[in-house]
Amino acid sequence: MLELSNVRAGYDEIEVLHGVDMTVGEGEIVALIGSNGAGKTTTMRTICGILSATHGTITYRGEPIQEEPSHEIVERGIVQVPENRDLFTNMTVMDNLLLGAQTADAQAKRDETLEEMLELFPRLAERKSQRAGTMSGGEQQMLTLARALMGDPDLLILDEPSIGLAPQLVQEVFDVVEEVHSQGVTVLMVEQNVQQTLRLADRGYVMENGRITMSAPGDELLEDDGIVEAYLGV
């Protein structure tokens, strides 16, 4: 479904990704793990056209998308929960949710999806008219997830969706991801909760210094001594 081939990207003169290769198959949950600063977020931003690749190709359903602006990529069905949330902080929770539905498809079922989201996240329903920036960190993270789902994604990209959440909420996020996946959405996620993520994921990639150094089914990575040592802290 999504294929990165020899992708290089970075910021101004600094190259962060030195040729990343990665694939995500239709219906999969794929995890990307790696230490801080490895380039995971940079990879996610490059896929969504927030950053542009300087080399290599990104294809989605067989078509190259690396030259496309972000809104065309969303139009294709790729939606991201960004690491730093990027909520519309001065706008209401409701505005944020409605802004999540931009494509014609998403707008056609906007009311329906909205209802689902408010059911899925009752906290947001209670706070519809609160300004997003005044919500708690956990609530904001939920809102970011709900906003992305309003976009009716075929491929949902999550960059540390459970960051800063209490264990109970982390579980809730994973539950939502599983639920969404069961409805046919393909998932690519970056997570610090490596164990939990790899258990959920069909496959996992390990990134170090802007390169993929390992790729294997999730459970195999979980049993790999190197991974266990590096990322699970045991």
């Binding site: 927030i50 969303v74 139009e75 990027d86 001065n90 706008m91 505005d95 802004l99 931009q102």
Partner: protein, 321 residues
């Protein structure tokens, strides 16, 4: 007679003596103490002018809110609006009031063209680049108007007369301009708050990256916002032409006051533009009446500098689009 502390008035004086400034203050306070009828008249003038000022600032603050661009061309956009109603009413014999929406359309198109040609290519460059580019646009269009229509002042032929309400004199030209300004501001507010496009514009102003992540075509929002901002300048300029003579350079004073209003109200703030407009209008009218010469304009600049020093985020801190 109330006792006045002269330390509150600290203008540098060249001859003429301090009483040139203390006398007006004494006069002002006396008028307040006596509830003099002139105060009501001045308030009315301040409101009439302030409402129009607010509209001149609205497009400027919107463009800044969405793109962080300080659009110097705004001043000449006002002037194009003035010449549009004038031209439409002089040469086509159409009512200046019909000319106002025409000015909005003309300026929308001009705004989009200016944006695509000069602002968009350098949008990611440091802010001073766009400032200089739009200043260039101002000079080019200003000169073009001067060449085509001569630098002579023009006037829309309209004899609207005036109203007399409880001893307060209200020129109808200014009253209509105020009504148009308030109506336009309410319409823009409704547009921003309750349409999908308005919400997208607010979202882009709030968080550009957020807008890109959800799939808003930010480029499109940029040029639409520039067009709408210019159209607002067109309506403002056209309304000003209802009560004032103008020439190719009239926009400069309005531009400067619009900047003061935008800074005072908070860059990108909608209510800020409104309140700022009223404050600057009041200062201009009251200052013009009580203080000698152009002291009122000096007061406005002091307010500008004071705002930047004391509360640089402005009264309304740029929360709204």
């Amino acid at each position: 007679m109330p006792q006045i502390d002269i330390s509150v008035v600290t203008f540098p004086l060249q001859g003429g003596g301090l009483d040139r400034f203390t006398d007006p203050l004494v006069q002002f306070l006396t008028d307040i103490a006596n509830l003099d009828a002139v105060l009501l008249q001045l308030l009315a003038f301040g409101l009439l002018l302030g409402g129009v000022y607010a509209l001149t600032a609205l497009g400027l603050t919107m463009i800044f809110g969405v793109m962080d661009v300080i659009n110097f061309a705004h001043g000449v956009f006002l002037v194009v609006g003035m010449y549009t109603v004038w031209l439409v009413s002089e040469s086509l014999g159409i009512s200046p009031f019909v000319g106002i929406p025409i000015a909005a359309v003309v300026l929308f198109v001009l705004g989009v063209v200016v944006h695509v040609l000069t602002v968009e290519p350098i949008l990611e460059a440091p802010q001073q680049n766009q400032l200089i580019a739009t200043l260039g646009v101002l000079l080019i269009i200003q000169s073009a108007i001067e060449i085509v229509f001569t630098p002579d002042p023009q006037q829309v032929q309209l004899s609207l007369g005036s109203l007399q309400v409880g001893g307060v004199f209200i020129p109808l030209g200014q009253l209509y301009a105020l009504i148009i300004a308030l109506g336009t501001m309410l319409a823009v507010r409704a547009f921003l708050n309750s349409t999908d496009l308005g919400r997208r514009i607010r979202g882009t102003a709030d968080n550009r990256d957020g807008a890109r992540y959800v799939g808003i075509n930010v480029k499109r929002i940029n040029y639409l916002t520039f067009g709408i901002g210019a159209a607002l300048a067109g309506v403002a300029g056209a309304s000003i032409a209802l009560f004032q003579r103008f020439d190719p350079f009239t926009g400069e004073t309005y531009l400067i006051n619009a900047f003061v209003i935008v800074i005072l109200g908070g860059l990108g703030s909608f209510p800020g533009a409104f309140v700022g407009g009223l404050i600057v209008g009041m200062i201009q009218v009251f200052g013009g009446y009580y203080l000698p010469g152009t002291t009122a304009q000096v007061l406005i600049f002091l307010l500008f500098i004071g705002t930047l020093l004391v509360k640089p985020e402005g009264l309304f801190g740029g929360a709204d689009a």
